[in-house]
């Protein structure tokens, strides 16, 4: 239930940011809008992710540095007169992560140097990755592993089991959330 309140909270914050001012009318209408949105489009999994602020900051920093490097690399590949691209498609394996974190990984891989996520495979968890500059499967797997370790530290597993595997279960099968799709 608290997870739901949290969702209402940040949806309201987005609403207030859009209107550009914290006034009672904005906050009230934001609360109403958030409630309507959550009723009309219920979210399947409301299991909140725990965030480790320190590793979260490291993850954001690593990601931004990767984005700058990726942009510079692609910019050079675009403007250099004779292009020597060797595009290939590789597969990199992922550790067991809850769905939200797998999506985060897929997004982050797309914005870091040389790689673009093509497909997310469920079983076993893996990413199909398009590589622009002929990087080897080993180097791409190393990058993905580094990112996965950062993601796991930034979002430590919650729950009694202490393992992300528990959160891997399909949200539809969880008793407290069954039938909410």
């Amino acid at each position: 239930m608290s997870a739901r309140l949290l969702t209402v909270g940040w949806l309201t914050a987005v609403w207030v940011a859009l209107w550009g001012g914290i006034t009672p009318a904005n906050v009230l209408s934001g609360l109403v809008a958030a409630g309507l949105v959550l009723t009309a489009f219920p979210i399947a999994s409301r299991r909140p992710l725990r965030i480790n602020p320190l590793w979260g900051a490291v993850l954001v920093g690593w990601f931004l540095a990767g984005l700058v490097r990726a942009s510079a690399t692609v910019a050079w590949q675009v403007i250099r007169p004779r292009s020597r691209l060797r595009p290939t498609v590789l597969t990199a394996t992922l550790p067991a992560l809850p769905p939200a974190l797998r999506v985060l990984m897929a997004d982050a891989v797309s914005l870091t140097p040389g790689t673009l996520t093509l497909d997310l495979i469920e079983d076993p968890p893996a990413l199909h990755i398009h590589v622009l500059d002929g990087a080897t499967a080993d180097s791409v797997q190393r990058d993905v592993d580094t990112l996965a370790r950062l993601v796991q530290r930034a979002f430590p597993p919650s729950g009694a089991s202490g393992d992300h595997r528990a959160a891997m279960a399909d949200p539809r099968t969880r008793p407290d959330e069954g039938g909410r799709r």
Binding site: G20, T73, I79, P87, V89, L111, L116, L118, H130
Partner: protein
């Protein structure tokens, strides 16, 4: 000082957006073009937004800018992922050659 930082951010951002556009035109196939459409374009928009936030400085504007940046970071790779997946599945169903998408 703020003006200098704003100019650097906005000009670099606009240049990256231009490079992204050139890349979409110049790179050889759909998947390579998605690289250009995601990374430099996203960083370019981020830099322009930083410039706007620096220049204006009002909390309401900064909040909106942060919202735009967050949505950009969510949607740009997702869009590229969707296009990439469609091309990938379409080409790998028939054969492993990525060339058939060339020039689409």
């Amino acid at each position: 000082m703020i003006d200098v930082l704003t100019s650097i951010a906005v000009i670099t951002g606009a240049a990256l957006a231009l490079v992204a556009a050139i890349g979409v035109h110049r790179l050889p196939d759909v998947l390579s073009r998605m690289h250009a459409a995601t990374k430099p374009a996203t960083l370019g928009i981020l830099l322009v937004l930083i410039g706007v936030a620096l220049r204006d400085g009002r909390l309401a504007v900064i909040a909106k800018v942060a919202l735009v940046a967050a949505l950009q970071f969510l949607t740009a790779p997702t869009g590229a992922h969707m296009v990439g997946r469609a091309v990938h599945r379409d080409t790998t169903e028939h054969d492993d050659d990525l060339d058939p998408v060339d020039g689409v």
